[in-house]
Symmetry: C2
Subunit: 353 residues, 2 copies
Amino acid sequence: MKVTVKDIARTAGVSQSTVSKVLNNYAQVKESTRKKVLKAVEELGFVPDLVARSLVMNRTGTIGLIVGDIANPFFSETAKVIIAEARKSGIDVILSDTDYRSELMEMAVKNMLARRVDGILISAVDRKDTFTTDLYKKGYPLVLFNRHPDSDLVNYIVLDNGKGSRLAVNHLVQLGHRRISFISGPLQFSTFHHRYLGYKNAIQEHNIPYIEEFVFDGDPSYESINDYLKELLNKDEKPTAFFAATDQLAIHVMDALARMGFNVPLDFSVIGFDNIDISSNPHINLTTVSQNKKEMAKLALEKLLALIDEGEIPEQPIHITLEPKLIIRKTVGVNYEQFHYETPRGEISLSEG
Amino acid sequence: MKVTVKDIARTAGVSQSTVSKVLNNYAQVKESTRKKVLKAVEELGFVPDLVARSLVMNRTGTIGLIVGDIANPFFSETAKVIIAEARKSGIDVILSDTDYRSELMEMAVKNMLARRVDGILISAVDRKDTFTTDLYKKGYPLVLFNRHPDSDLVNYIVLDNGKGSRLAVNHLVQLGHRRISFISGPLQFSTFHHRYLGYKNAIQEHNIPYIEEFVFDGDPSYESINDYLKELLNKDEKPTAFFAATDQLAIHVMDALARMGFNVPLDFSVIGFDNIDISSNPHINLTTVSQNKKEMAKLALEKLLALIDEGEIPEQPIHITLEPKLIIRKTVGVNYEQFHYETPRGEISLSEG
DNA sequence: AAATAAAATGAAAACGTATTCTGGAAAACA
DNA sequence: TGTTTTCCAGAATACGTTTTCATTTTATTT
């Protein structure tokens, strides 16, 4: 039936332990017997049982990857590099999708612990999450990326989201916009929280009043955003630009505006965040803040593997923040109205290039 | 350190076997001892070691999922439903990404066998692949989806790709197009192969001559397609419509046309295949052939789990083909030229709805 | 109350591997 | 040649469960 070490031992005329030794490249084994064993392995087509090995080695050679939504390009692109890089170290990844529900995250982690994965990578924690922190304190190899909890006592690799927002707001302000609406996702995620904070700080740095009605953080569906925009654009005080916390949201905004008969960037400017693939499509051409997803994923895995190899957790948690970058395309225009009526400043460059 | 069944046994004052029995809901255990054991489990926070269990049960509770490119929406969307559905049965999935390279597929399978996954789901086989067929013949639970090899001796769930092409071609022909270019991906994949065959058959059914220069199956990158189009549109005999074997390819085509200053659908019609998320975007609005990815994924998993539970493979491999559907949006127009100069037929409806 | 049947428990083996430790053979040294 | 060291190989144990089978306990019958 299934060929095991025992079979190899028998046909090679040695003991199980020597077979194991040649399989694991022990030095202490004569060349002649090594040959015998290898020949038997070849003949019988033996392949070591990794679960048995896991049991005795106390290492499974697997890691868990928990994402918010694998169908979301951000998560799938990061997953891709993690899987590819892990494979280079002979490590397999068990993937879990929380569908943005934090209860599922906790369940996924528990399940993976039972499966004895060697470490866990999570890009889907809530700000108020304490579960991961507790787990890490117990010495379990764990690194978060993309999102992090409010607690600082766990490893994470994230984008400097606040800075990203500042980049976006500055760009808009430079082109004359002073009434900027912020379209956010759920603020319980650190990404959105910091993008929101960055937006708020940036406009205040420019002495722009913060208008509560200008920020949206409700249900991120198209319909919901469409409703919000309709209501907003009926008021006296309209924004001239929309800063969306996500390219996906930005595209919703653009769609809604288009359906209302507005032109982007002539009537309104739109800027996104993430630089997903579609955004560079000539029909979309979204100006956005980009993050280096691949580097983030690579770093997260790298740190996790190091943690696993170390065998013990460092005193100080690892915190890495990556730099955002502004990608200028075609959805942001000059707010002439602003230049005309309020504070026209000649030194500001109006070119988009 | 780690709490095991032995610890539970000790603190509950029973034997390992009884602990195992209450954990696995054996009938033959007195209520009072069940209580004792459960209490100890609770107190010590015991959680069963799944790798140890796997070893003895000869079942890991994991399946392997091998995809061509997890960053591609088709694969990530199917992966999402597979992961979610598998979880409902307490099964975890190990994900592998072949990056469209078939050698990697074979390696991934071998690795998963060593990991003793209970079954494997593959959406990334070549037409000439025999490895999976051989494996299945050996009795290993295996189901392919999306793509299938030329051999029929293995289970697969696929779309009726030929029919999908016919749907697309018929639609174009009904609107007066007779010069239809087919933009394909690599024909070594059954999906593209059958879409190509469907295209060829469909135009022949309409007595349209097959023109070799009208089909492209080279490198599916934007640049390569752009080059092809430039050359093609310099010739005398130009197509009036493009049928792309993939929405991704259709979007490349539209981008290239847009950059050359053409309007879709006024100058050229474009139709895609797959109905990925972006295609419904108002800026894209691609007419396309859709497939029910979720159902495909669900069916594939369902069949695999059934196979695993059966314990032995059925005499006849399972073959399921799903129905494609035409989604009419805004990228296909009427070819008036055709109606005007050649065979204007009054009975053909020109409305797009 | 004794005999029997049924129910509950435990001892032991198994799953397939890695590793420690011991003993013997060979080599190196005297 | 005798002794010490080095090198190899194997026996035994461990990893943490499940499961079979024998045994003890409890319940049922006469």
